[in-house]
Amino acid sequence: MIPFDYRLAASIDDATRAASAADTHYVAGGTNLIDLMKLDVETPSHLVDINALDRETASLAQVTELPGGGLRLGALARMSDVAWNARVRELFPVVSQSLLLAASGQLRNMASMGGNILQRTRCPYFRDTATPCNKREPGSGCSALHGFNRTHAVLGTSEHCIATHPSDFAVALVALDAIVHVRSASGGERTIPIGEFHLLPGAHPEHETSLRHGELITAIDIPALSFGNRSLYLKVRDRASYAFALASAAVALDLNDGRIRAARVALGGVGTKPWRSREAERALVGKTAAPAAFQAAADAALREAVVHRYNTFKVKLAKRTLVRALTQVMA
């Protein structure tokens, strides 16, 4: 860890002004950033602590109803608060489940909504400054391509990076077409659809999101979805708890008399970004909700998969995870 200075922001304006300076990072729960600073992977000179902003703007840390029927998750709301929120559990069980299956109780009590979708990959090479990594040090090479890549992505990869996006919650969000609200130092606000929030690695894996420097996430909206209550998050991992997904699926189904009227499918643990699979959704819509359709959807979702030496199993696992999720959400 290298020396840095620290400032507790008093207001959103104060925070965004301070963070517009070069080499500055926001810190909320700190459950990812501080780890990475200890590893010298993140080396900001200035930290702007936004944990007290809800004193000025209470909704920043709350879950509130949207006029059209959806929910607004304040950027500073903690994972555990959102996970146990009655309206979240009622309208979007997939969100609650994705949060509760992530991290540990202690981490969920600290980690924020905004921080969650900004968390960095767990690729061990990204987290070890002694190894080449294009994401951490552009142009240095990718150690994972020919290294130990069991946990790495099979969808959305490039020859420069195969790191998996680690968030479970973001997988649920992409399935639900969430909208990210951000504020800039000039006071300007804009919204970013979650599907455009995370970027594919391509030739520039160091660019992970469409956030501009200094922009502050203020809220994540989950728009109304009539069948959001028939949704589910399934996570498969190497131990029963406290491990990142080897494969996960966020699904929601709109059923009419046994036929699928609409479907939402997203995958985790296998993509370089939270992976919405419209291919799987297309394979489901109009079909009878039965194993054949689920299998076809799984095949469609993984059709473009690119595997490496140690992660070939992920294709089969992701397909089976999706089939199981679709089967369970029917129950």
């Binding site: 290298i2 002694a130 130990f148 498969v236 406290y242 199981r324």
Partner: protein
């Protein structure tokens, strides 16, 4: 849990709470890194980022001028040690360490420098400023192509076990078999990962050194540190009051500790080093990867005619440390023809070392998996097959067992588990999406002890103060020694103060090989009996005493009262005797040594482990709903701490079976998952209902207390029991640990 409490022993055997429990849960127990040492400087190790080659240049200018920095030690400026780069004692007593005596790099993560500063933060920040360049060589990382290393060096199996054995005629035995099974089993690199990181605080006063060291062996540490720095052992004091887990990695003094001692002398003030979690991967040992070939031959009726177990393990460029995986196989089953052997290959990794049941944990995975495979090949129940080949005597040496209750363990375990209800066919027990599997295996660990000393003092108020160097790894040494002393003295444990963890106290061996209860317990018992004997002697020679003139043999001591067995009305307290005889504390010391028993007998603990797994037939996830294990481990000193220790071993085994593996980058030799987040050990949700029990076992020969070590047997057998259960559930035989879901998909 049942126990075998002796009639006149009110404390030993009882499930007494830990005497240090309150201190631990309130934070009052001081671990090494927490010892208050005035003016202590903080050191941070710099480690290599290549796996093989030389350090070409180290630019330390920025680090040296960084805030708070006191010194930067590198191969260029580090003081030369009397023994240079050679170990001070022959390995494994002394390890081949990285003490900046040369510029060679043997593995990725090897210590190559040390930054000393006024605070940990300053030292950490400065260490990040050091720029190192290397002359690289291509590292050897693949066991399949790595060069062999001799098995005659440091890695010889423990005790007097040879590297290779032969009995009978293996080829003839195999030729006579109706059924043959030949398989290769592999176990991965693993790290011990105790919760407490390795830590050292070194403080010189002139040529006297005090070393606070997180250690499993303070006396062996004293010896090797003294030799390394060219001072007499009596000038070195090693202190370690609490250890937050050892599992073998704290059985040696590693580079960081020696570097702290070196730095403290260089900067003229105390120096503290605490490893980072990443630094626990490489510089402090681990379990090496093993590749084990097993061949079994059996008659149709299940009689084994031939056993061959040949194991190859990986070692480092620095030492020839060998994982003795095939040793347990020698005595385990009564086959007339058997061959065992060990080979070594050398790769660019940190030197491996003892890791909880070194040899037995990896070896029983292989042999007990193979026994299951053969049972299936013979269409025999796995327990019936083992009973058919039950070794009534040590199968290799022909010596009698000092005691062996394995038959009772099989039978008690099978009954508790409901084994007779098992259907033998794989995939024959299902529950919805889950395939249910039941598996069992034999657990075994040798019973050892070493010379140990203790002192006991009976105070004028009848309380006692008992001391013995030793260490408590978190296992309960403080507690069980308090109980042993209390019974020997005939007082309640509340009146005993037991101290350990300081080389100023009587000498004891390393806490390894599950020998502390047997070794230190025997000494504590003897010292306490000697002190009691002295007071008894005073009483029977004291005309004022109601016991005057009695025979010492007639005197019993209970609740601090000396009383004649022949006339219980004649009694008086320790305090009364001492008050009349000068009022001074009564001291005694004793040393206990192993006798001829190890020559005459084969001494082992045994157990039977039964597991149930639920395997998701689509997703491959493996859950362990229950484990039932029954052990014959001699006398149990404390039913509660014993249960905890055996249960801990089983959890350790669940980790080894299903998740633990140190991943090495195949190109860089870098330890890839060097964190507790990515190096998976079981979390609470992975730990099932574990039912641990012991069968009554009286062993009068192993040691005066009749105890067999229980620190390591818990993680033997369990891995095979789980692998066998996974086979029963899925029909898939996984011979390569850990059994992660991708291997059963």
């Amino acid at each position: 849990m049942s126990n075998t409490r002796a009639k006149s022993a009110p404390s030993v055997g009882a499930p007494m709470n830990r005497v240090d429990g309150r201190l631990k849960v309130t934070g009052g127990a001081r671990y090494t890194a927490e010892m208050p040492v005035a003016n202590v400087a903080h050191a941070v190790m710099i480690t290599s980022t290549i796996a093989r080659g030389r350090v070409a240049t180290m630019d330390v200018a920025a680090a040296r001028s960084a805030p708070g920095v006191i010194a930067v030690l590198t191969p260029e400026n580090a003081p030369k040690l009397p023994n240079g780069a050679k170990p001070a004692l022959d390995p494994p007593a002394g390890r081949v360490l990285s003490l900046l005596q040369d510029d060679l790099v043997h593995y990725n993560g090897q210590p190559i420098g040390l930054v000393v500063a006024d605070t940990l933060e300053h030292a950490t920040a400065a260490a990040a400023l050091v720029r190192t360049t290397y002359t690289k060589q291509r590292p050897e990382l693949d066991m399949a192509t790595a060069p062999t290393a001799p098995t005659t060096g440091s890695g010889k199996p423990a005790g007097k076990e040879p590297v290779a054995t032969t009995r009978g005629d293996f080829d003839a035995g195999l030729a006579a078999a109706d059924v043959r099974a030949e398989y290769a089993y592999t176990t991965p690199f693993e790290q011990h990962n105790p919760m407490e990181l390795h830590a050292t605080i070194a403080q010189w006063e002139g040529d006297h050194l005090t070393m606070y060291e997180s250690s499993q062996g303070i006396f062996p540490a004293r010896k090797v540190v003294a030799k390394t720095f060219g001072v007499p052992p009596e000038n070195v004091r090693v202190v370690c009051h609490f250890v937050g887990g050892g599992f073998g990695c704290k059985g040696s003094v590693w580079s960081h500790a020696m570097l702290a001692v070196m730095a403290a002398r260089e900067v003229g003030r105390p120096v503290k080093v605490v490893l980072t979690r990443r630094q626990m991967f490489g510089p402090v040992g681990g379990r090496p990867r093993t590749v084990q070939h097993i061949t079994l031959g059996a008659k149709k009726d299940g009689t084994l005619t031939a056993i061959r177990h040949v194991s190859t393990s990986a070692t480092s460029e620095l030492e020839e440390w060998m994982e003795p995986s095939a040793v347990a196989t020698r005595m385990l089953y009564a086959a007339p023809n058997a061959v065992t052997d060990h080979h070594l290959v050398r790769i660019n990794m940190g030197t491996p070392t003892f890791m909880r049941a070194p040899g037995e944990a990896s070896g029983t995975f292989a042999i007990e998996s193979a026994m299951d495979e053969m049972a299936y090949a013979l269409h025999m129940d796995p327990i019936a097959f083992r009973l058919k080949n039950y070794a009534e005597k040590d199968a290799q040496t022909g010596k009698r067992f000092s005691s062996k209750s394995l038959r009772e363990c099989y039978s008690a375990g099978a009954e508790k588990f409901g084994w007779p209800r098992r259907t033998m066919e794989p995939r024959s027990m299902r529950d919805g999406d889950a395939l249910i599997g039941w598996g069992m295996a034999t657990a075994t660990y040798p019973t050892r002890r070493s010379p140990a000393s203790a002192s006991a003092r009976i105070l004028p108020d009848g309380r006692a103060w008992v001391r013995s160097g030793s260490q408590d790894l978190g296992t309960g040494t403080y507690t069980v020694m308090t109980q042993v002393a209390a019974d020997a003295l005939g007082i309640s444990p509340e009146r005993v103060r037991f101290e350990l963890g300081d080389t100023e106290m009587p000498e004891t061996p390393v806490s390894g090989g599950s020998q502390t209860a047997a070794s230190v317990g025997s000494a504590v018992n003897a010292a306490a009996l000697a002190a009691r004997g002295k007071v008894v002697q005073l009483a029977i020679e004291d005309t004022q005493s109601p016991l005057y003139g009695a025979s010492a043999d007639d005197v019993r001591v209970e609740n601090g009262m000396l009383r004649l067995a022949s006339n219980p009305t004649k009694a008086e307290s320790y305090g009364a005797v001492i008050a009349r005889n000068g009022g001074q504390p009564i001291d005694a010391e004793a040393t206990e040594k192993p006798g001829a028993e190890a020559e005459e007998l084969s001494m082992h603990a045994f157990g039977a482990v039964f597991t149930e797994v639920r395997v998701d037939h689509d997703l491959g996830t493996i859950r362990v709903p229950r484990v039932i294990a029954v052990y014959g481990v001699g006398n149990v000193l404390n039913a509660k701490t014993a249960r905890s220790q055996l249960m801990g071993g089983l959890v350790y085994g669940i980790g080894m079976a299903l998740m633990e593996e140190t991943h090495i980058d195949p190109n860089l030799g870098r330890y890839v998952n060097a964190s507790l987040e990515e190096y998976h050990v079981p979390v609470n949700a992975d730990v099932p209902s574990i039912d641990v029990s012991t069968v009554p076992e009286t062993d009068t020969r192993v040691n005066p207390l009749g105890v067999k070590g229980i620190g390591e047997i818990g993680n033997t057998g369990i891995t095979a029991a789980l692998a066998n259960a996974v086979f029963h559930a899925t029909g898939k035989r996984v011979r390569d640990l850990p059994i992660t879901l991708d291997k059963v998909l």
